[in-house]
């Protein structure tokens, strides 16, 4: 039995146009608590997904317990003793606690489930974990913390050797967090190997034996938790050469004229959001995944419900209860999820590009003026430098960058004055990224304004005139361009304490 439990050996995972993991090699010792840190998009979740068989790596290999493993599905990993406890626990809520725990490995008596044996075994595990509920109880009505205990019980039932925790405390109360940490310490004492992913550095320094840092899909280094300071760790997380492509090519053009102002916006998961947006400005919105940035923007755009707040557009109070009203006032939204919220499948570039501006292309009775549409398509395809100019080409078959251009053109056609970009270059290759940035600059240069939600710090720093930082549904900082530094943004984005 060697000292190494999990070894990542030159693991690479490519998605079309993106290398999510690039030649990652490091090892996790038997019985240690190994933390994994990095910015959004550093590759932590992809690495866990590869470990758990959700993704098959495009290159490299994984050795667990001296065995070279090739998982093709999560069940393979589970059978091998690799369990996970993630932020959102998947349970089948029509089944009982016990049925959920044994799911996929039910004890059998002949062809039927041996319920008595199942309840006995599961109750034993739950008692050891100090849970108040038992195997026969229904899942419905349990708290997130209790669901997490179910996930841990499941790992124990499946005789896990390795358990990974991915942001386990994200939705727990202080008390639940304490209980969780106790259980994690107990599991470690029993000799299990634990991988722990979190943005909360306090938690990591409290629990971890060693810490590995990932950045941009690459492995940076591993440190002993006792040997490294918090500041030094953050430096390692962000310390890349600030890439040169996310930069303003033209002069800044922000004016003093306030185009949009938001006061005290509240909604599900966020409160008291106030900011102003000026003509000619790109306002960055930074923060960790889960800070509710997208939710704030969807509420502003009228796609989701808001509970309070005033929006003023050009000084006048604007009522926005639906995207239709937002569009009428002059606000567009380029969503983060192109496939589900951006373009329409089966539709051509021409149809997708004209979808929002369509009423303007119609005679009375809604009959479309097809020559006008064709003309506009050509004009805007050229404007956004869309390479595939065949109007009948389906948008779904384009690359991420070209899809983004089609969606951007859709809003440009409507003559909106504010565009909200949510992760404008997510899944876009480097060349197209540059073009998107250039189009954004052109847009503000014409006296319009942009709100740019981004998890890429370089993008926020390079492109923004000012930037807001959102933390747990509130604005934690509003920084001017000269104050924008990765450390500063991260400092305001990270929760202060582990609560």
């Amino acid at each position: 039995m060697s000292e190494i439990m999990v070894q990542f050996d030159h693991v690479t995972k490519e998605f079309p146009g993106v290398k999510a993991l690039n030649d990652v090699s490091f090892s996790i010792k038997r019985g240690e608590l190994h933390a994994l840190v990095g910015e959004n998009g550093a590759g932590k979740s992809t690495l866990l997904n590869v470990l758990h068989g959700v993704y098959v790596p495009s290159g490299g290999r994984i050795v667990i317990d001296d065995t070279h493993v090739e998982f093709h599905a999560p069940i393979d990993a589970l059978r091998f003793g690799i369990s996970k406890v993630h932020q959102e626990i998947n349970v089948v809520d029509v089944l009982s606690v016990g049925q959920n725990i044994v799911l996929g490995a039910e004890p059998l008596k002949g062809p039927a489930i041996d319920f008595r044996k199942m309840y006995r075994e599961v109750d034993g595990i739950l008692e050891k974990l100090g849970c108040q509920f038992r195997a026969a109880d229904p899942i419905r009505g349990l708290s997130v913390g209790e669901l997490q205990m179910i996930a841990i019980a499941k790992a124990v039932y499946h005789k896990a050797k390795v358990i990974s925790f991915d942001e386990p405390t994200a939705s727990l109360s202080d008390k639940e967090i304490e209980i969780l940490f106790e259980k994690i310490e107990e599991l470690k004492a029993q000799g299990l190997t634990i991988i722990y992913v979190s943005h909360k550095l306090d938690e990591i320094f409290r629990l971890a034996d060693r810490i590995s840092v990932l950045r941009d899909g690459r492995y940076v280094d591993t440190f002993k938790a006792s040997d490294i300071s918090r500041d030094e760790l953050i430096r390692n997380m962000v310390g890349r050469d600030v890439s040169n492509y996310a930069q303003r090519a033209k002069a800044l053009c922000a004016t003093d004229e306030v185009l949009l102002s938001v006061e005290g916006l509240c909604g599900e998961g966020f409160q008291n959001i106030s900011f102003t947006l000026r003509r000619g400005e790109i306002l960055g919105v930074s923060g960790l995944v889960g800070a509710k940035r997208t939710e704030i923007m969807r509420a502003l755009f009228g796609a989701d419900h808001k509970t309070a707040g005033t929006i003023r557009f050009k000084g006048e109070e604007a009522v926005i209860h639906s995207p239709k009203q937002a569009l009428k006032i002059g606000i567009g939204l380029v969503s983060e999820n192109r496939k589900t919220e951006g373009f329409v499948k089966y539709m051509s570039n021409r149809q997708n590009m004209t979808l929002a501006a369509l009423p303007g292309f119609c005679r009375a009775g809604g009959v479309m003026k097809r020559p006008d549409i064709a003309k506009s398509f050509e004009e805007y395809a050229q404007k956004v430098r869309l390479n595939i100019t065949n109007p009948d080409h389906l948008t779904e078959n384009l690359s991420g960058g070209n899809q983004q251009k089609v969606i951007l053109a859709k809003w440009l056609m409507t003559n909106v004055e504010v565009i909200i970009f949510d992760e404008p270059t997510k899944g876009v290759d480097v060349g197209a990224k540059q073009e998107i940035y250039a189009l954004m600059e052109e847009f503000v240069a014409q006296g319009n304004a942009i709100i740019m939600v981004s998890s890429e710090l370089t993008e926020v720093i390079g492109m923004s005139d000012r930037a807001l930082v959102v933390r747990d549904g509130e604005i934690s900082a509003c920084l001017n361009r000269e104050e924008l530094r990765e450390e500063t943004l991260l400092k305001h984005a990270m929760p202060e304490r582990s609560a």
């Binding site: 995207p323 089966y346 979808l355 009423p359 119609c362 809604g366 479309m368």
Partner: protein, 323 residues
């Protein structure tokens, strides 16, 4: 031309299939090859086509309308009684269209505004409307429908003696196809079915366009009901029972995706013609009634499998070209 061939490949393939069936039927029974058979096929396909074009709209939005058979029955009873009661023949037709539109609106309202699942909502209205049809006539059939009303739809036309309703159907198909492809409403209906969220975020009032689709579906069913009334000269509250399934089959054969976002009016029409060719043909060659059901079912399954098959062939061809 090339674009037409590519865009209509599905419809053309079905037409090919219909011709192949005609050849086979003729080989077995030469009597199949006569004009009366073709008129029969087209006339039989008409009611299903009226139901099918509306159904196609509902399915394109990602929904379904199981109530079309019952809408037919209500229209048959209302128009039948109005006509027997001496109402002006054109007023009767307007009344029928209005009844279909109102019921369709109701279906759409339940689905879009009250957020019921289309399957469940229209299953409910199907039952309720069937009951309503029986209540309207007190359970009795409506007999001896006046000739002048019947003649509007049922009289043989100057063109080969084909009855008027076939041309009404063609006009309706042209209008529905125009709505789908040439108006913003049509574009929105496709967008709702393929990606409702993206449509909503593009500023589309998705609820109202969904309601419009069901309303037009109701109008199609009303036309089907009136054609039935005109043809038979009598109406009964049990009319149209089970017809929704034929309409769904016609749409499916014609390439409408049950998941929404895809489908054409002309595909559904050729789908309906294919179904009636099969039904008439099997009778002409004297196939056993029970075996007819098996044959029709098999053809529906084959037509559905056709998509998978076509995709496989296209892939194989492009792979072969690469090598």
């Amino acid at each position: 031309m090339k674009r037409f061939l590519k865009k209509s490949s599905r419809e053309l393939a079905i037409v090919g299939l219909i011709l192949a069936m005609a050849v086979i039927f003729t080989l077995i029974q030469p009597r199949f090859m006569q004009s009366s058979t073709f008129i029969d096929i087209i006339e039989q396909a008409t009611i299903n086509s009226f139901l099918g074009i509306g159904m196609t709209l509902a399915i394109i939005t990602g929904g379904i309308d199981l109530s079309v058979g019952s809408i037919m029955a209500v229209v048959v009873c209302v128009c039948g009684m109005a006509s027997v009661g001496g109402m002006n023949k054109f007023a009767v037709i307007l009344l029928g269209l209005a009844v279909g539109a109102v019921i369709g609106f109701l279906n759409g309202f339940l689905i879009a505004k009250m957020k019921l699942q289309p399957f469940v909502a229209t299953l409910g209205t199907e039952e309720a409307l069937r009951g309503a049809a029986f209540m309207i006539t007190g359970g009795w059939p409506v007999l001896s429908i006046p000739k002048d009303f019947r003649n509007i739809l049922n009289a043989p036309s100057a063109i080969g003696g084909i009855r008027n309703f076939v041309f009404v159907m063609l006009v309706a198909a042209v209008i529905y196809s125009f709505i789908l492809h040439r108006t913003k409403a049509g574009t929105y209906i496709y967008a709702i079915g393929a990606n409702e969220e993206a449509a909503k975020l593009s500023g589309v009032s998705t609820d109202w366009y969904k309601i419009l689709a069901y309303l037009l579906c109701g109008v199609g069913a009303a036309l089907a009901g009136m054609v039935m009334l005109a043809r038979l000269g009598a109406g009964e509250p049990s009319a149209g029972s089970g017809y929704e399934l034929d309409a769904i089959a016609a749409a499916a054969i014609g390439g409408t995706s049950m998941a929404g976002g895809k489908g054409t009016i002309w595909g559904t029409i050729v789908g309906a013609i294919m179904l009636s060719t099969l039904k008439v043909g099997l009778v002409v060659i004297g196939m056993d009634t029970f075996v007819q059901y098996v044959a029709i079912g098999s053809v529906i399954i084959f037509a559905a499998y056709f998509d998978t098959l076509q995709a496989g062939i296209t892939k194989a061809i492009s792979a072969a070209r690469k090598h």
